[in-house]
């Protein structure tokens, strides 16, 4: 069944249908910890995407060489190697960003999103598909982190990407940049998104039911789609 999925879908599924943060609830630690500002969220997501893409590529290239018993250990070593590369490059090129993200860059090693994709996807698919999947998941991760960071930054410090967007008269909601704000914002965002999906689903179901009543013949086709 996997083979029938088009290459484009391998990329786009990570954006929404299987969005790592909102749908799969993976990679929560960095998603909550670094999203004090949109910039931090984007930087974190870029670093994660880099690690995810390259480890997916390598693992899917050598997937037939890795013995099943030690696969997790092998994945972890490969991931840790790329994380070390990212950490050293960031420390050299973007010292401020590296300081802001602190220990959360090395903690990419244990981001369940990355290990999860290797176990569920790269170890079973061709390199091209694995890379597309990784890029899609990375982009989805970035969408989640940037929006979460954006909301927290606007309400918590009146700025977006460092530019002031709310007037001085607006009292910044201090709670947003504190840990509690991260949990609350993400919880509300996830709930809101679920609500949207639910509403869409009920509307579709209603339309489907209406069409069934008109043309009983169509019912088989729609049944398969659903």
């Amino acid at each position: 069944m996997k083979k029938q999925v088009s290459l484009a879908t391998e990329y786009t599924k990570g954006l929404w249908d299987q969005n790592p943060v909102f749908k799969q609830v993976l990679g929560m630690c960095p998603a909550l910890a670094v999203t004090v500002s949109a910039m931090n969220g984007i930087a974190m997501a870029l670093a994660t995407t880099f690690v995810l893409t390259f480890s997916s590529l390598i693992i899917s290239l050598i997937r037939k060489l890795i013995p099943t018993q030690v696969r997790i250990a092998s994945y972890i070593v490969i991931i840790a190697t790329f994380v070390t590369i990212v950490d050293l490059v960031m420390r050299a090129q973007f010292p401020e960003l590296s300081k802001a993200l602190g220990p959360y860059i090395p903690l990419i090693v244990v981001n369940c999103l990355i290990l999860g994709r290797q176990e569920a996807f790269s170890s079973k698919n061709t390199p091209v598909r694995a890379v597309l999947d990784a890029l899609g998941m990375g982009t989805g991760f970035m969408v989640a982190l940037a929006s979460l960071g954006g909301i927290r930054e606007i309400l918590g410090s009146r700025t977006l990407l460092g530019v002031q967007v709310l007037p001085d008269a607006f009292d910044p909601w201090l709670v947003m940049i504190l840990p509690a704000g991260a949990f609350l914002t993400l919880g509300l965002m996830m709930g809101g998104l679920n609500q949207m999906v639910l509403r869409k689903k009920t509307r579709e179901e209603r339309e489907l039911a209406a069409r069934h009543l008109q043309k009983p013949k169509m019912s088989l086709e729609h049944g398969q789609e659903a």
């Binding site: 609830v25 993976l26 929560m28 630690c29 960095p30 909550l32 910890a33 997790i72 250990a73 972890i76 070593v77 840790a80 190697t81 994380v83 070390t84 950490d87 050293l88 220990p103 090395p106 903690l107 090693v109 244990v110 981001n111 369940c112 290990l115 709670v175 504190l178 840990p179 509690a180 704000g181 991260a182 949990f183 609350l184 993400l186 919880g187 509300l188 996830m190 709930g191 809101g192 679920n194 609500q195 639910l198």
Partner: protein, 192 residues
Amino acid sequence: MELILIFISAAIVNNFVLAYFLGICPFIGVSNKLSSAFPMGLATTFVMVLTAIVTWLIYHLILVPYHVEYLQYVSFILVVASLVQFVEMFIKKVSQPLYRALGIFLPLITTNCAILGLALFMVLKDYTFVQGIFYGVGAGAGFTLAISLMAGIREELELANVPRAFQGAPITLIVAGLIALAFMGFAGMISV
């Protein structure tokens, strides 16, 4: 006295889950029931203390003398993974009841960021060996406290009428946010 402060700081004021967002996956995943959350906390604490001991020794006796500190992520994660494996085998051999209680949680602990986070924070804060052990115990106690609190609340939540869209992860996150707000009351009490 300083050791007690480190313990309290790691357990309550700078709680790993609620202030540093470490170990969120088990915090959300295994907090359905108190009867599984508490053993999970204990297993994590156990591994944390061992990790603190072993990674301190490796960092200060191998990595620093040979100037290969950049290998810390690779070596720490390998230590954690093999330690978890070892603990699992050891418990299985020594105590069957304990294995049945903790066994299923042990593999999950490898990817618990709180464990690796503990090792990294210990290096960052430059703790001595004994301080590191207390830090590990404190962090583990904090994790156990947070996950047990969460499980207790979620057991009650089962009876509550939560909107359909908020069931599962969203409401858990919001509850975590409220617990984090409560824990903010401890902020500034101790600064270590």
